[in-house]
Amino acid sequence: MSINFKKVGKTYDNGTVALIDVSTVIEQGEFVTIIGLSGAGKSTLLKCINKIENVTYGDLYVNDILTNNLAGKDLRTFRRKIGMVFQSFNLISKTTVLRNVLTSRVADMPLWKTFLGIYSKEDKLIALEALNKVGILEKAYTRADQLSGGQQQRVALARTVAQEPNVILADEPVASLDPITAKQVMDDFKRINIEDNITVIANMHHVDLALQYATRVIGIRGGKIVFDGPVEKVDDDVLTYVYGRKLTAADNIG
């Protein structure tokens, strides 16, 4: 699944310009981190890919399909192949970990089964495998709100893995976690990226983590892509340009 931005721009209804003339191609299996200041347009870039936000101008192709006008059933079918992980995990707190993971299987189920919460054996197996992959299988029957932040993010990752996507979009996936846990979660992302050849596109605040795990970095400043290249090419000059000032060791929190 390739993602192709062709001169994409996004202006919000309140007049905020979030993206200006963004053009880039992301190929299947890449691990891309997007860096930049808060408000630079990182989240918007991510949310345009699965059409949580709609682009204002330009064309966005996913798998050579123009996504601009996707709606209804076509949009839902399209979204099934794109997983998303959020900064605040977005789990259903009052239910078990397994049921949270199973929610990603709901798309292909008839409505009455969804209503009664009847999941097939295969779906349960897929969900348990996904939990095993991120190392918290033993928490399958625990209520989601009884887990730590790191564990909750792993459940969210397992939920996305069980969706069997081609691409995982991660919006600040480790921003609310401590440094050690953040690394563990990033390791999970990396493993899934390599083992299952799933594209990972992650917004990151922690530059050191971003550089450590990514194969490619996209730097955004003021809604424009100001750097786009392999992680090896990111040096102090690039970071200074992306962030508008020099980053020092004191800025490393990961």
């Binding site: 839902r76 979204r79 099934r80 998303m84 959020f86 977005n90 709901v106 969804t114 969210a156 939920r159």
Partner: protein, 289 residues
């Protein structure tokens, strides 16, 4: 103009100063003088007396009538406090009918309210806000009238004769209007992050609601439904007054015929039924919380 009003204001206060004595000064041992603030209760009492006199004029309320017929109350109490227990074979089936009406009406009303509350919640249905808003206005219109009015209208216009069915429908309408309101107000306060996460996996809004929001609101939904059932039982007891079935039918008849012993029996059983259902509902609601 403003000055004149102020003058009038101060002169009224002076007038009250004359008729209401100022609170007495308190002198402490060391000579400190404490001035207690003027109490407002005197003014409030005067205002209340004026209001009461005014409204009793409108309602043609006459104390004299009450005193003249005071002995009737003793007669009434004397009979009603000695219930005619042999009347239970008539009362119990009618009380059960009332409970059935209230139960079925609550059930149907509650079932209808959930999908409607989902569709009109502003945080879920962002695209059709005006539809939601107009349904909300319609709901508050429905809530304006008491259950009794619906029972009367339905009896007159649609289903004359069939009391219990009309009663059930009235309870349904009332429950639907009040429960939908309480539910959508609750849904509008909850955290929708899980709902959004599930929607992003390519799922319809309805399915996302069922998987992400329903587990969250289910305890509240049950609790509110039970509470409505509580209210409905009490309201249903008078539905029979307009001919809409239940215990109200015979309560009206016995009171009209001045069979106060029998009316006492009815009230006694209704009292027990309501108290036990209330206790049960309270117990279940506490377990749900």
């Amino acid at each position: 103009m403003k000055n004149k009003l102020q003058q009038a204001g101060t002169s009224i206060i002076h007038f009250f100063d004359k008729i209401i004595p100022k609170p007495k000064q308190v002198v402490l041992e060391n000579g400190t003088i404490v001035n207690p603030p003027r109490s407002a209760s005197m003014y409030i009492t005067i205002a209340l007396v004026i209001v009461i006199v005014y409204f009793s004029k409108i309602t043609e309320f006459e104390l004299a009538v009450i005193f003249r017929n005071f002995t009737n109350i003793f007669d009434f109490l004397n009979q009603i406090l000695r219930p005619d227990f042999s009347y239970y074979s008539t009362v119990v089936p009618k009380v059960l009918e009332t409970i059935r009406m209230a139960f079925l009406g609550t059930l149907v009303g509650a079932l209808l309210s959930l999908p409607v509350a989902f569709f009109i919640s502003a945080n879920i249905n962002k695209n059709a806000k005006w539809i939601g808003a107009s349904v909300k206005v319609l709901l508050s219109l429905i809530r304006t009238f008491p259950m009794l009015v619906y029972a009367r209208i339905i009896l007159l216009l649609f289903i004359p004769g069939s009391g219990p069915l009309v009663g059930t429908i009235s309870v349904t309408i009332f429950t639907f209007s009040i429960l939908t309101k309480m539910l959508y107000e609750h849904i509008e306060t909850i955290d929708l992050s899980a709902y959004e996460a599930i929607e992003s996996t390519g799922v319809t809004k309805v399915k996302a609601f069922i998987t992400a929001v329903l587990p969250d609101i289910l305890p509240v939904y049950f609790s509110l439904s039970l509470y409505s059932f509580d209210i409905n039982i009490r309201h249903s007891t008078v539905l029979g007054y307009v001919g809409a079935g239940g215990i109200g039918v015979i309560l009206k008849r016995t009171l009209q015929n001045r069979e106060y012993n029998r009316a006492g029996m009815i009230l006694f059983i209704v009292f027990i039924a309501i108290l036990s259902i209330e206790a049960l509902s309270k117990y279940i609601r506490r377990r749900l919380a």
